[in-house]
């Protein structure tokens, strides 16, 4: 009998160590969905790059409702996934409750700060990137009116808007920026019909470049802008290819790099506060063959100039989330 116990014990130990050795990273996508052509898709891209380069696999789940956040986190943590990467500010509260229960598991949260010893908080300086595309939009605009369409009305999206307005005003202090938010519920991330109509409304008010920071709603914005013959600016991923020659540029948030780094570090993930901005390549604007004809050398030079100044700290773009106000309208 005791021999039996020993065998069982050994088998269990082997199973446990095998489990530890095979600790897979996990990635949780927010409600926008894995292929939103934007934020979550960038995260997926980073994870895929890691998987292809290392030949390892990762676990993933796409949330369908708010209620699944905690469930998904706990399930991955209990299944031994390590580290667990999640995209989206909305995980903040849940993670601060769950993280202390699994001290041996490392978590990485993107777009939110959670103060716990086993959490890496990655935030992006979206205001800097929005400033750059704002400068470009103001230079591309002939009417002197540009538009901004946000998704859900949350401080993060206002941060995009505020940086954008600052960039526009830096080029043309007299420019008008029309700002609209799609809604106040998560449904605002997936309402392309409303995005289209908002774009038409902004065109009616004279806008000839619109910047969409609205997840799936942005698909409608870019579509309508292309249909109506004005320019648009994409967000998060490089969206220039969606309507070649009609998307001025995209504000790129290198969520893929953040996810890739977290997964590469694996169980040795460095925890704490991590800012990705223009200075360390976490934020950039997109240039490729799809928008080359739209961006003149002058435009590119001025934007690159600002980029260097931001990177060196010479130019500070106001962050809406630092005090919940924006110095310009």
């Amino acid at each position: 009998m005791s021999l039996m116990h020993k065998f069982l014990g050994a088998a269990a130990a082997a199973a446990l160590s095998a489990g530890a050795a095979l600790a897979e990273p996990a990635l949780i996508f927010d409600l926008g969905g894995k292929f939103d052509k934007s934020f979550n898709e960038a995260a997926f891209g980073g994870a895929t790059r890691w998987a292809e380069e290392t030949g390892n696999t990762f676990r993933e789940i796409e949330l369908q409702s708010e209620a699944q956040r905690e469930q998904a986190l706990r399930r991955f943590a209990e299944a031994g996934a390590n580290p667990i990467v999640m995209t989206g500010f909305a995980f903040g509260n849940v993670l601060s409750e769950v993280a202390p229960d699994y001290p041996d598991t490392k978590f990485a949260i993107i777009d939110m700060v959670v103060d716990a010893p086993n959490v890496r908080s990655v935030v992006f300086n979206e205001h800097e990137g929005s400033y750059l595309v704002g400068m470009m939009a103001a230079q591309a605009s002939k009417s002197g009116t540009v538009g901004f369409i946000g998704g859900m009305d949350i401080p993060l999206i206002r941060k995009f808007a505020c940086g954008y307005v600052q960039g526009v005003k830096a080029v043309n202090p007299d420019a008008t920026v029309i700002q609209n938010m799609t809604g106040t519920t998560p449904a605002a991330w997936n309402d392309p019909v409303k995005g289209s109509e908002l774009t038409k409304a902004q065109i009616a008010q004279g806008a000839d470049v619109v910047y969409a920071a609205a997840g799936g709603t942005g698909v409608g914005v870019l579509q309508t802008a292309a249909d109506e013959g004005i320019l648009s600016v994409g967000v998060d991923s490089n969206q220039n290819h969606l309507h070649s020659g009609k998307v001025l540029t995209s504000m790129m948030k290198r969520v893929d790099n953040a996810v890739y780094e977290a997964m590469t570090a694996g169980v040795d993930l460095e925890t704490g506060f991590n800012v990705m901005g223009v200075a360390n390549g976490g934020i950039d604007y997109a240039m490729d063959e799809h928008n080359a004809s739209l961006v003149s050398a002058d435009m590119k030079a001025s934007v690159d100039g600002a980029k260097e100044k931001i990177a060196s700290g010479e130019l500070a773009v106001h962050d809406y989330m630092s005090d919940n106000t924006c110095p310009v309208e």
Binding site: G33, K34, A187, V193, A201, V219
Partner: protein, 336 residues
């Protein structure tokens, strides 16, 4: 606010009211026959996906429309089976259809297109493009003159502006939806079928006594509902948009239900109710106009909530009474 801005807002209202109107008339047929349908949203969503998907493969928006109608009718048959044949709870069947459509569309889209629950963008004839009515200023005039369309319209006379901006330039489905209103009125109030359909929603036992099949009348109503929801969904994905995005109906099926109650289950009232709700949605997009007209900054969310608030007011009986068909939500059990 100038005349042209007013026209632009009304133009947006018409575009946004069209899916509501089609879904509202769909619900009207079903509810007038005594089958409550809260699955409008799901049927629209399924139709939106299948019409976009098939339009993408076939390159023809009308073929897509047929596929969308087919998908919606298939869901309608499920609803009919559950609520007419098996006498189940109609609300639960409706909720189930909404869930089914929400999950199924994304799943099928992912397996067909691998773009994460969306269809590739539709181009050319795969979309319902705006129709330019004769004598109206449209995109072709703008190309001919090599100037923006908005400039040409701004220079035209008020009557031409009204005609070009508001009447012309919609997709064919918008005109079809508007024609459905008198057609529905005629069918319900001027034909024998309509009389029987209304009777079966008020007193199915009387219809049965008269020797008319309650089951087939209700099935006919549920199928008509499916057809109209199908058109509404196709309009969303291949006329308003150029492709399907998950959950793109965004609650429009429920606003259509609110409009149905607001319209007291009458086709012509339904038109006005949907145009009113469309106007609210259009104004929600233009906070600047409201601010200019009334001089106050209004929270746009209030406008978004107005359809629901108005419906509650109507239901509470403050402004006339909304009385649903008497046999609403009751399965008919033939006495032996």
């Amino acid at each position: 606010m100038d005349f042209l801005t007013l026209l632009q807002v009304l133009d947006t209202s018409v575009r946004l009211a069209t899916p509501l109107l089609l879904a509202c008339l769909a619900g009207l047929y079903s509810e007038r026959s005594g089958v409550v349908d809260i699955g409008l949203e799901g049927k629209m969503l399924a139709a939106a996906f299948f019409s976009a998907a098939v339009a993408f493969y076939s390159g023809n928006a009308w073929v897509g429309l047929l596929a969308g109608v087919g998908a919606s009718v298939a869901l309608a048959v499920i609803h009919g089976l559950a609520s007419v044949t098996f006498r189940g709870n109609q609300l639960i069947s409706g909720v189930a259809i909404n869930f089914l459509a929400a999950g199924m569309t994304v799943l099928v889209a992912q397996s067909w297109f691998r773009q994460g629950g969306r269809t590739p963008p539709l181009e050319g004839d795969a979309r319902f493009n705006p129709i330019e009515l004769p004598f109206a200023i449209g995109p072709s005039d703008a190309t001919a003159a090599d100037r923006p369309l908005s400039q040409l319209i701004a220079e035209a006379g008020p009557l031409q502006q009204f005609y070009s901006e508001l009447i012309s330039g919609h997709s064919s489905l918008v005109y079809l939806a508007l024609l459905t209103v008198p057609a529905t009125w005629w069918l319900l109030f001027r034909t024998r079928f309509g009389l029987r359909l209304r009777a079966v929603g008020e007193n199915p036992a009387a219809v049965d006594t008269a020797g008319v099949s309650v089951v087939w009348l209700r099935y006919a109503a549920v199928l008509l509902c499916g057809v109209l929801c199908g058109v509404a969904g196709a309009y969303l994905s291949s006329a308003l948009q150029a492709g399907f995005v998950k959950d793109m109906t965004a609650g429009r099926g429920f606003i259509a239900l609110a409009a149905l109650i607001f319209a007291k289950w009458r086709p012509v009232y339904a038109l006005w109710a949907c145009l009113l709700f469309g106007l609210f949605q259009a104004l929600e997009l233009r906070p600047d106009i409201i601010e200019n007209v009334i001089g106050l900054k209004v929270q746009v969310q209030l406008l978004g909530a107005l359809p629901y608030i108005l419906t509650v007011v109507i239901l509470a009986g403050f402004v006339g009474k909304a009385i649903p068909p008497k046999a609403s939500a009751e399965p008919y059990i033939k006495e032996r």
